[in-house]
Symmetry: C2
Subunit: 493 residues, 2 copies
Amino acid sequence: MESLRKYMFGLMVKAWRICGKAWTSIWTVGKEDPRRIIHAFKVGLSLTLVSLLYLMEPLFKGIGSNAMWAVMTVVVVLEFTAGATLYKGLNRGLGTLVAGSLAFLMEFIATEYGKIFGAIFISVAVFVIGSAATYMRFLPDIKKNYEYGVVIFLLTFNLITVSSYRVDNVLKIAYDRFYTIAIGCGICLVMSLLLFPNWSGEELHNSSVSKLEGLAMSIEACVSQYFKDHELEPDISKEESEDHDPIYMGYKAVLDSKSYDATLAKHASWEPRHSRHCYRYPWQQYVKLGAVLRRFGYTVVALHGCLETEIQTPRSVRALFRDPCTQLAGEVSKALTELADSIRKRRQCSPDVISDNLHKALNDLNTALKSQPRLFVGSETNQTSNMLALAAVTARQSVDNHLPSANTESSTLHDWKLSKRVSKKTKEARKVLRPTLSKNAITSLEFSEALPFAAFASLLVETVARLDIVIDEVEELGTKANFKEFYADDEIT
Amino acid sequence: MESLRKYMFGLMVKAWRICGKAWTSIWTVGKEDPRRIIHAFKVGLSLTLVSLLYLMEPLFKGIGSNAMWAVMTVVVVLEFTAGATLYKGLNRGLGTLVAGSLAFLMEFIATEYGKIFGAIFISVAVFVIGSAATYMRFLPDIKKNYEYGVVIFLLTFNLITVSSYRVDNVLKIAYDRFYTIAIGCGICLVMSLLLFPNWSGEELHNSSVSKLEGLAMSIEACVSQYFKDHELEPDISKEESEDHDPIYMGYKAVLDSKSYDATLAKHASWEPRHSRHCYRYPWQQYVKLGAVLRRFGYTVVALHGCLETEIQTPRSVRALFRDPCTQLAGEVSKALTELADSIRKRRQCSPDVISDNLHKALNDLNTALKSQPRLFVGSETNQTSNMLALAAVTARQSVDNHLPSANTESSTLHDWKLSKRVSKKTKEARKVLRPTLSKNAITSLEFSEALPFAAFASLLVETVARLDIVIDEVEELGTKANFKEFYADDEIT
């Protein structure tokens, strides 16, 4: 009895916890994007409206049980953004129309022959058209813009063809059905276009802006962390800290944006031009910009990799180049922010602001590298060797000076690796068999301590080259989308 | 008359060309993946079978016009892979069942009150449940596994609730509908599970293998191209050549695999265990492996970036390190191929093969760098400075020696940039205002000619570190999926 009570109590606590979790989840979803709540209410309202076709006597008399199709249309067509609703609605309308016409033709032929031959003819037609339409769905062009339409075509065609075999006035059925579907589509369109509309195009536009800003943030955070004076606390596990890492947060959205961008652009292309101008808006240019930003993002990931790599240039060496690197990153970041700002305000970007300062920053880095000719005397043209040799020798010196700390570093690495391995106790037996790769990582410390800084600097210069391409794409976007001209007296962030 | 004939002729030629294009497209789709053709036939066959419910007298008598629901189910549920079909079919069944129960409850309450209050009650219920269910679709857990089920729930609930207002024996309707939907689902399941099934799990498994192989190919191609003796032909435009670039082809599939992997894993988790063993197959581990491979891929992209960057280390300098780099890349590539092979054959990987050779390759690179202490005498511990200084000074020398060729290179770059710009004639006026960034790129040649090789070497070492993580994940996959043990006498590719 006592144990049963305990069990029940435990169960209640568990249930309470699950409820709490569910509530948090529900709350978060709404808080993240309040438009979701509005959308939910819109669907509820549309369904209620369409139900009135059934519930109200005079309306029902006109439409009858075909009102079912209106209900179905609302459930299936009404989507979160206006573009998606239009895509589905128009595809549904088109698919139904084509299917209806074709089915009517089939029925006309089938009734020419008798019952038996008619049935055979219909079966063959269903098979052939079913196979052909399904195959069509794989074609890239169809898949991109009309996949849903083909599904609806198949659905409607089969329903009408097959049921026409038992019913006489198939035209009446088709007409009624089309009529109610039109009512359903109409309600959906009103709801999605007129009542708090969410535009896919806006979403795409805003996501481009936030991607540019995220990359700007990432680069700046990356460089500032690289030149930080102290090591990061190692007690946070890597997976956990990744979610709060500003660098990762900045480029995360960029990396996996391909399919999201493509979907938004597809839906946006179905949306009416809701701006003042009536030109064809270049949504595909946003997709192109997204691709260029992804390429830019990969460079940032590699830059981030320089922070996480197991072989590190000592901080004392890095400190020598902190200012020019920080400045260059700052300028790249500023340029990206300016680009983001120009897109947000739908104006063309101010190109001279971008490259004047960037040029200066690159020169500064150059000067900084030139001004360190301590170690061996070379001609003025030999800056490269100066810098790298300096970096290398200083690295060596600092290792000699701070040998204990260097040892600590590498043993920390070793410990971390070890703890990682110990935690996987089941695999330990196999691990002994394999000389661990971490040994390699430590061995490689011997020869490549100055390499990471060189890689870091090189990747930083690489971002400038990539920035050039990003600017080109943003300019092309500005031209194609008829953004307003840039005037020097506009405020510049 | 003549012009009309000409016009008609032109039209016919155009139509012929369009037909040709369409045919090529249709042919390619089938050739790329012949399973598509089989799938199309399967859909046609299923539709024909389900049509027989209507067409054949005895069957029709039993089921009647509800056969419509079976047709609808087949069109909507039968998907390309077995997992997707199961996901949709089971979701549809579940959604219909829950919706039916709830609708029955609603109707029971609604009939308690009169006609008017019943109608109001139904309207309110439709609104509340419509809103709540739509909101639920945004919850991550629901969205991941049950989104389609919620749509079907909403659809069925509304259809039954609303139509029950006009019809008396709603239980009979619900029963008939469920019955026909079950027939439809049954046909779909037979078709997708028994007749030439395409398993999402297989697809995921194979795509992991091909991703590993692609990366292996990319790395090898990357290094061999970096150390090639001659420049690539510049006459192929960049966008065009990208599609045939073996490096790009190798990592392309890896970069944007996130949503595809997630979808396949979702569908695979609905599939029955079709292997001999009945354990829960770790599909999520494939997704994790995919994420690690994407990280690896970003490093390869950065490596590829070293080939494309505007500042290049002269080929004569690169040639000094060709052998060790090629060897290291070869070993990494071999390790990846071995991992791919172990997954393909569902056996655990042989770890000692991987790290022994890798270790050796790293050491060889180390030795190669040590063995070039030509320029200034340093202690044995100063290999880094030796190598980098050597690289830098040799770079300088080769520039001095081959000044014409170096000039050609940079002017080729300039020409390419210029031609790119000239082609955008509309923007020329603005370009004059902006000091082109290519100027920066050329300016930066002054100080960072040796940097790119350092970056290249560093990134190559980085791939080894990343390989470690990939191996960990593949081992975990092997353990979780109960791959067969590795024996030394197994053949090794």
